[in-house]
Subunit: 420 residues, 2 copies
């Protein structure tokens, strides 16, 4: 009876699991507490209370949307780490549902990650993203999160609805945070006003610590002045490899395409749209209300070759050499000054602007010294004034992107009550 916090612990567990309490009775003997809840909440309530008192693991249920490369890598990572999370972190991570672009499968007991594909082929239903959320929310697992591993616009349109259903959202999908401001602002407001979390570290730099680093700088009162970065692995590779005396730019693009380092249509890389989205995402974290169309974007696709409906990818590649002289001239000018070309995204916080452009950097600059397809992001702030805070490394690929999503899931687990 003198142990502090028993009732508090009980009700905290029920509260975090969103269990509605109809009636409570506790006598002054303090030997028992009676709680009346809805029958539909019984499983969830029991699990939540057991989880808290009997030192069971904290349950975290996942519904995955998108079973492409990133989604598949995430499922493999979750499966490989499942026992360790259970033993070391007391975290019971289960995948309760998977959705493809046309079908979905939800099992409230959790899917067997070793054989989920077979079950998916056999039992998946036609896709209905709203029903997907309702099935997850009704699963009885106290903490549920939808992980959107698509690059499409449909799942983001459901985030608000899912959050209303009590589901957290974690995603590497850039569409919401670089899409129309009102929709993004609505989700941000919901996350601020409720205890439902929306996390998106992997939208910039994949698994590199970019978004969380920026958020901590901003929230701790540092004044971010400028963020400058090479945000595209493909464009990093192209300019790290480009040596104008040795071969023209179009040859570097052709080789990269042959090696699978570019999108099937390299204009999807060279156009800079993906970099512009990342600029928008980071700008908004700095409090700048930027739309994608506000970004000052200098495309690397020659103007006559931009219309994808008129110029096929093959024709684009065939005709790209016609435009090599322009790039060669820029490179020669840079080299004459001991500089080199890099395709960068810039958030100019003081001017409230974002841009994507080809810029020149002196040879001893950190951006000039990059190799491979590394991303690099430099934060210039009041505290990081003389020298910026820099994060560098592979910023694309299924493994590291899934790793970034995984780190958001761990963050979420800590927010909903896992030990740190």
């Amino acid at each position: 009876a003198s142990r502090r916090g028993v009732a508090a612990t009980l009700f905290a567990a029920l509260a975090k699991a969103s269990v509605n309490i109809r009636a409570i009775a506790q006598g002054c003997s303090e030997y028992n507490i009676t709680v009346l809840i809805d029958g539909s909440d019984a499983t969830k309530a029991l699990r939540a209370v057991h989880g808290r008192f009997y030192l069971d693991a904290l349950p975290l249920g996942i519904g995955l949307v998108g079973r492409g490369l990133i989604g598949s890598a995430l499922l493999q990572q979750l499966e490989a780490q499942r026992e360790t999370l259970l033993e070391t972190h007391r975290l019971d991570v289960r995948v309760l549902g998977v959705a493809s672009s046309s079908k979905m499968l939800v099992d409230p007991r959790g899917l067997d990650l070793k054989n989920w594909q077979a079950a998916f082929e056999a039992d998946a239903q036609p896709l209905d993203l709203q029903a997907f959320g309702l099935l997850l929310a009704g699963s009885g697992v106290p903490n549920m999160v939808v992980v959107d591993c698509t690059a499409s616009d449909e799942p983001p349109a459901m985030y608000a609805e899912w959050m209303r259903q009590g589901l957290h959202v974690v995603t590497p999908n850039k569409r919401l945070n670089s899409g129309p401001l009102p929709r993004h602002e609505y989700i941000r407001a919901r996350a601020r006003e409720s205890y439902i979390h929306y996390l998106y570290e992997a939208t910039v730099g994949a698994g590199l610590p970019v978004v969380a680093t920026l958020q901590h700088l901003v929230a701790s009162g540092d004044r971010v002045r400028r963020i400058e970065g090479i945000f595209s692995g493909t464009l990093s590779f192209l300019f790290n490899s480009f040596a104008p005396q040795q071969e023209p730019f179009s040859a570097v693009v052709a080789q990269a395409r042959a090696n699978g380092f570019t999108e099937p249509d390299p204009r999807d890389d060279l156009g800079g749209q993906d970099v512009a989205r990342k600029v928008v995402i980071l700008a908004r974290e700095c409090g700048i209300d930027l739309e994608l169309s506000d970004v000052d974007l200098v495309s690397l696709v020659p103007e006559p070759l931009r219309d994808a409906s008129a110029v096929s990818p093959e024709e684009f590649m065939r005709r790209l050499p016609e435009f090599d002289s322009g790039m060669a001239e820029l490179a020669a000018q840079a080299e004459a000054q001991g500089e080199c070309l890099r395709f960068v995204g810039v958030v100019d916080v003081e001017q409230g602007k974002g841009s994507v452009e080809l810029r020149r950097y002196p040879r001893q600059h950190a951006f000039a010294q990059l190799s491979g397809s590394d991303n690099i992001i430099a934060f210039h702030t009041a505290r990081y004034d003389q020298q910026p805070l820099i994060v560098r490394g592979p910023g694309a690929g299924a493994e590291v992107t899934a790793g970034g999503v995984f780190s958001d899931l761990l963050r979420l687990a800590a927010y909903v009550g896992a030990p740190s």
Copy 2:
């Protein structure tokens, strides 16, 4: 009556504030809930419940130990950011206590950060770290954290006691995590088994995202193979500046000392002990049970000059030139191979070893391209295999260290229930 989660919300608020509940009554009408608590908990309970229902800010109370450069910078940052945290993050951060090495002042209503020094001079009591914790724990503020901004051994000896008192601990002090393993392991176990948090991002690289990045890699199942870094701003500066054809190593040290870039006794930098502590901290995050004495440490202080009781700092500086030829030879050998010298800490996870040593790096290596007094840390892992994940930037100084502590406070706030 049909609104979900009212009782749950109430009890969650009381639970997070560690309020003991003696008796509860709620009728089936669901119009009211009666909760009986101890009179001593009344203020805390009222604040916690108000905070949750009336959308007051989440209270976070701070007791600061150490009013040196870092502690003072933190107080300034907290004061400057106070209104923003309240308005934007709904976080009510108050400093309730400050302790110096001999005195302490606690005010449960919160100190006025504009004038706390005067109050401290007038009203501070003799220091008693246990009483400091008890006063904070009894303050009535639901979430309390002790921030240890000292570099000394006494506060870490109290962490366990403070955590038993229900206080979280945040620190840039390396002593616990690089001190005797049993004591460190005890604190880690307490943090894992309770809902009390222990956070220490700023122990390595100050405000750079190093510890959290490593923790996320490990927890998400990446296999860390090797961590290599330049962890000392002073030693970074010395070797970034050292050009053996132009001036001897001792002259670089003398200049750095004259500019205040070294400790008063430069042997405290050149000995590598501080780097070894960081190696131990990171090794333990990788699951290696390393003691400080296990680190393979190659000191840069010539053997005959190591005994500080026999050789004063001035005599050390006078005699250092006698040993320049050895360093010049190493530098010449490196240069002959197109390489340069860097003083690095290494965690070899696969061998379970830590070392601190002077190593050679090719000119195009990221470590060779460093400038100023930047730190740089490279994580080589299964996912970051071809190219490491790299964090770089200023890794010392009061402002950025306080910023790292501040980011831990924000993390803590999210763990105890602030919106993300």
